[in-house]
Structures are given as C-alpha cells and as structure tokens.
C-alpha cells in the first residue's frame, strides 16, 4: 500500500485538487445557481497566492489564506453583479469572467508573467498531501452539511422553486450570494494549493476546456451530492493513467462518456447507483412486508423513503 501511495502521490494530490474544483462548481449548482466561476476562482486564487509568495515573500500558508479570502471577495462581487441572471445566461457570463481572468493574466506584463506565467513557486515547508486532504475534507464536510437537515431542505427549496422558498420565509437572495462566495473560496483554495504543488501557473491553465472538464466531472459523477463530485474527480483523474494503452483515443472516450451520461444518465453514476440501491431496497422491503403481513406485525421495518418514492 505504501509503495502504491508513494508512486501515485501526484495523482492522489490531483484527485483532491480536482475534487475541490468540482465542488466549487457543484455547490452553486445545488443552490440552483448555474455559475461556472469556480474555474476562474481557481486561476485567481493560484495567481494571487503565487504573486504574494513570489513578489512579496509571504509564507505559503498565509499566501493561501489571503488568496482564499480574496477569492471569496471576488465571489461576493460577482454575486452582486450577476444576481439578476439565471440559467444558461449566468453560465455563459461566468465562463466569460473565467476567460477574462486568463486574458488579464496574459496581458499583465511582468506582474503576472505574461504568456509564460509564473514558475518556481515553491512552498518552503512543503505542502503535504495530508494538508491537501484535510482541506478537501473540510470542503466535503461543508458540502455535506448543506445537503442534510434543515439547511439541506432550504437549499433544495431555493433550487427547485424560488417563489415557494421565499414564501416560506427563506431569504433566497442570501442563499444565492452564499453560493457565489462559497464557490469563490473553494475554487480559490484549490488554485492556491495547486500552484504550490505544481510550482507554476500560466494563462493557458485556464481556458474553455478547463471549464468544460470540470462540468464533465459533475455530469458523469452526479450533480446531486458531494459523493458525485468525488466519483467524477476520481474517474477523470485516474482514467488517463489506466487508459495508457489507448492514449491516442483518450479524448474520444471522454467525449463518448460525457455524451452517454448526459443523454441516458442525467443524474450521473451516483444517480444510477442510488436507483439500483433503491430498487434493491424496495424488492427486499417487499418481501419483508409480505412476511410481516403473514405474521401480523412489524411493518415498521420498512424504510419510509421506499414507501413514498415509487418510480
């Protein structure tokens, strides 16, 4: 196990970084905010941390902390600007924001390193995998917290029906703003960590395709829960490593997977797994009910969810 761990260290780190990037787009999606600004926050966070560390000699951890705060602030500004937009329009406006960050970095002269970007960004005490893992864990806990209980139900209400949510006393605007801010903080954190792991950042690291790859991971993994984000991040980080035999057709396989998932499994792999599990549970519950009716007691063993959710 340790041999596997050390030989695949880079892949493990990239999986965690990708998980953070995916979460930075998936969390707003779950709030009903179609914002793809997470990729832009990644670039913004990476550049901020790199410049603070490189030009102003700030330590790695304080640089990351400042980058996260500034990215969250960028999220707040975007929330104020783009509050009125919705759906595809919001999606495209945020893609435009992502790409403008890339253009600014490209034209920033020596401050941003221009087209070649910044390199040689090294954290003096190295950023350990443990650090990245614990940051990812924090983000997952944050995401999971917004999926259950009272907060989870409010988030669903904000996503499904804004008027209904507002009429029930949920401050919809505040939730939507929160989605932008969380997206900015998580995306910025991913970028700030990654720039110290990769030691470089360039304008070409943020493009239309980086946005679409993140979206791809969500579609394939599943958009309903952080678990889907994890599945997507694992698949698309490890697939190139496993597909070395068919490297030349890698892009074709990606495209086919995304197309199939979007048409036949809009809830992603997580959705398929859940419905399979649900069907299995219903079938088992069915036999339990049959047995319970025979003996005349004990119907309460049936999970209540399977009673309501008949497909």
């Amino acid at each position: 196990v340790t041999a596997f761990y050390s030989s695949h260290l880079v892949l493990i780190q990239q999986t965690l970084i990708n998980l953070l990037i995916v979460l930075s787009i998936q969390i707003p999606l779950r709030f009903g905010v179609f914002s793809l600004a997470g990729s832009g926050s990644y670039a913004f966070g990476a550049y901020t941390a790199a410049i603070l560390n490189h030009r102003y000699g700030l330590g790695a951890f304080s640089a990351i902390a400042v980058a996260v705060v500034l990215s969250a602030l960028l999220g707040l500004i975007l929330a104020a600007l783009l509050q009125r937009l919705d759906g595809l329009y919001l999606g495209m406006a945020t893609i435009a924001v992502d790409l403008i960050i890339s253009v600014i970095a490209n034209n920033g002269g020596s401050f941003t390193g221009g087209p070649t970007g910044l390199y040689g960004i090294v954290a003096t005490p190295n950023i350990s995998t443990g650090t990245v893992a614990s940051v990812a864990m924090c983000a997952v806990i944050l995401a999971a917290a917004s999926e259950r209980g009272r907060l989870g139900r409010r988030v669903v209400a904000v996503r499904r029906d804004r008027q209904l949510a507002a009429s029930l006393g949920v401050n919809v605007g505040r939730y939507r703003t929160a989605a932008f801010v969380i997206s900015g903080a998580v995306g910025g954190c991913a970028g700030a960590l990654d720039v110290f792991l990769l030691t470089t950042i360039a304008p070409s690291d943020i493009s239309f395709s980086t946005v679409t790859i993140a979206l791809t991971m969500i579609i394939v993994g599943g958009s309903a829960s952080w678990l889907g984000a994890l599945i997507g991040a694992i698949i698309f980080t490890w697939l190139p490593d496993l597909l070395t035999i068919v490297t030349e057709w890698e892009a074709l396989i990606y495209g086919a997977i995304v197309t199939l998932a979007a048409v036949w499994a809009p809830d992603g792999i997580l959705g398929i797994a859940r419905s399979v599990f649900h069907n299995w549970q219903v079938r088992r519950a069915g036999t339990v009910v049959g047995a319970a009716e025979d003996s005349g007691h004990g119907g309460s063993a049936v999970p209540s969810a399977s009673d309501v959710r008949t497909p």
Partner: protein, 296 residues
C-alpha cells in the same frame, strides 16, 4: 480607414455565416448547440481528407462541407438532443444536459479530427481554387473574401426572408415563443428541430470550408473560439432575433477591429467576453430580443 472598414466587414460576415445557424437553432427550438464549432471544424476536416488525394473546385468543396455539416448536426439531434428534449422534466436540468451533450459531441468530433491530423493545423491547399489579391480603391481584398462577403449576405437575407415570410418560418417562431401552444396548433416540434439543426449544420459546414480557405489553416480546437464569439453576437442582438444576431456580429467585428488596431498585446480576445458580460448586465434581452410576455 477603408482597409480597416473592409477588414471589419469581412470579419463580420465570417461571424454571420457561423453564428446565424447557431442563433436559429437556439432562438427557435431552444437548442444551444455547443457542437456547432466542432461541426464547423469537422466539415473542413472532411474536405481536407478529400483534397489530400483529389483536386476539387471551390463549389464542390462547399457542397461537401454543407452536406457534412448538415449530416453531422442532424445525427447529433437524432442521437442526443432529441432524446433529451423528449424526456425533459424541467428547463434547468435539460439546459445543463444540452450544454453537456454539445460539449461531449464536440469532444468526439475534435478527437477524430486531431487524431488524423495529429493536432497540427490543416488547410485546403489541394483545392483548385486560387486566392488572388485585388485592389479596391487602394484597399486590399482577395477574390475569396469577396465570395465570402457576398455569399454570407445572400445566406443571411435568404434565412431572414424564410424565417419571417414562410409558413415553416412562422411555425419555427411560434415554437420559439411557446412550444406547448405551438404543438397544440399542430406543429411537429421534433421534425422542425431536425430541420433547423440540419440547416444550422449546413451553414456551419459552409463556414468551415470558406473560413479555412480564408485563414489558410485551422486547428481542431478553432471551433471553441467561434462558439464564444457567436454567443456574444447572439446575446448582443437578442435571442430569437436573426437580424439582431447579424447586427451583433457587425458590432462585435467593428469593436474587435478597433481594439486590434489601437492596442498592443492580446486584448482582442477580451472583447467578446466583455460584450457578453456588459450586455447581460445592462440589457439581458439584447438589442432586439423578444420581451418576455408572461401572464399569470
């Protein structure tokens, strides 16, 4: 100044050729086809494969490009967009699915093209068409650029007349306003969608051939840039308005030409993104967009 005006005109007509098909499909049947750029590249790629062994005149190339584009887009509709629209539960999820499927199809088409060309730029040098520079009141323009401008203008006018004067055009506009009511009036939505997608693909294919000749070479990823510029033009003109899209293309082309001649560096890329954000912030329905009519 004349030279710059002509450059802006050529750029605007190139954008028009590309964006009008995309605008038509999005504004009427509600399919924002992200594979439009890849269709454009793929049509040029098929022509490139043919031209490698045979010499063909421009007309034949254009027809092959049109046929390839139409077939690609129609296949994408039958295999992917159609099933999604038929089974859609709510608009938000289906928008996301349409976006994802377009990206997926684009990835497949680009992967095929870049596998064969080994990601190198490819052109249509084997055609029998020769680009010749001409002089027009002291400004430079090529014979190809004249063909491009005239053809794009003809296509744009024909599309507008068709959309606003024919029965099929009326049906399409009805779907754009309210597809539920339109299907109650006996409009076959899926057949209309297939037709519009095929037309959009045909225009992308034509644009693919002409613009590959104009730029002398394109890469498999060239389509992505065009998608974003076309999106900017459509949003600027207003979704659902074809004349609006064409005016959007002109405004975008003029802005880009001004930025290109007056600034150094690569700020020209930021123009289309800036246009997207500014228009969506100030006037989300665009210059000539449908005003949403909602009765409750």
């Amino acid at each position: 100044v004349l030279q710059e005006a002509i450059n802006a005109l050529i750029l605007a007509m190139s954008y028009t050729l590309f964006a009008s098909g995309m605008s038509l499909a999005w504004g009427t049947v509600g399919i924002l086809n992200f594979a439009h750029g890849a269709t454009f590249v793929f049509a040029a790629f098929v022509c490139y494969l043919i031209v490698r062994s045979d010499t063909l005149p421009l007309v034949a190339l254009a027809l092959i490009g049109i046929a390839t584009g139409a077939a690609t887009s129609a296949a994408a509709y039958v295999a992917a967009f159609g099933p999604i629209l038929r089974r859609r539960k709510d608009v938000e999820t289906s928008e996301m699915q349409i976006l994802a499927v377009g990206i997926g199809i684009a990835t497949i088409l680009e992967a095929i093209a870049s596998h064969v060309t080994e990601s190198e730029p490819f052109g249509l040098l084997g055609s029998s068409f020769q680009t010749r520079p001409l002089r027009l009141y002291g400004a430079r323009i090529t014979n190809l650029e004249i063909i491009l401008v005239v053809l794009a203008a003809v296509v744009a006018v024909a599309l507008i007349i068709w959309l606003y004067r024919s029965r099929v055009g009326l049906a399409l506009r009805a779907i754009g306003v309210d597809d539920g009511a339109a299907s109650l009036m006996g409009i076959n939505r899926s057949r209309m969608s297939l037709l519009v997608m095929a037309i959009g693909g045909a225009l992308a294919g034509l644009a693919g051939v002409l613009l590959t000749l104009e730029f002398s070479a394109i890469t498999p990823e060239s389509g992505d840039d065009f998608i974003l510029k076309a999106f900017a033009a459509i949003v600027l003109g207003g979704l659902g308005s074809l004349p609006g899209t064409i005016i959007g293309c002109f405004v975008l082309a003029v802005c880009e030409t001004i930025v290109l001649t007056n600034t150094s560096g690569q700020w020209v890329d930021a123009v289309s993104f800036g246009v997207i954000i500014i228009v969506l912030l100030i006037r989300p329905s665009g210059l000539f967009g449908r005003m949403a009519v909602r009765r409750t």
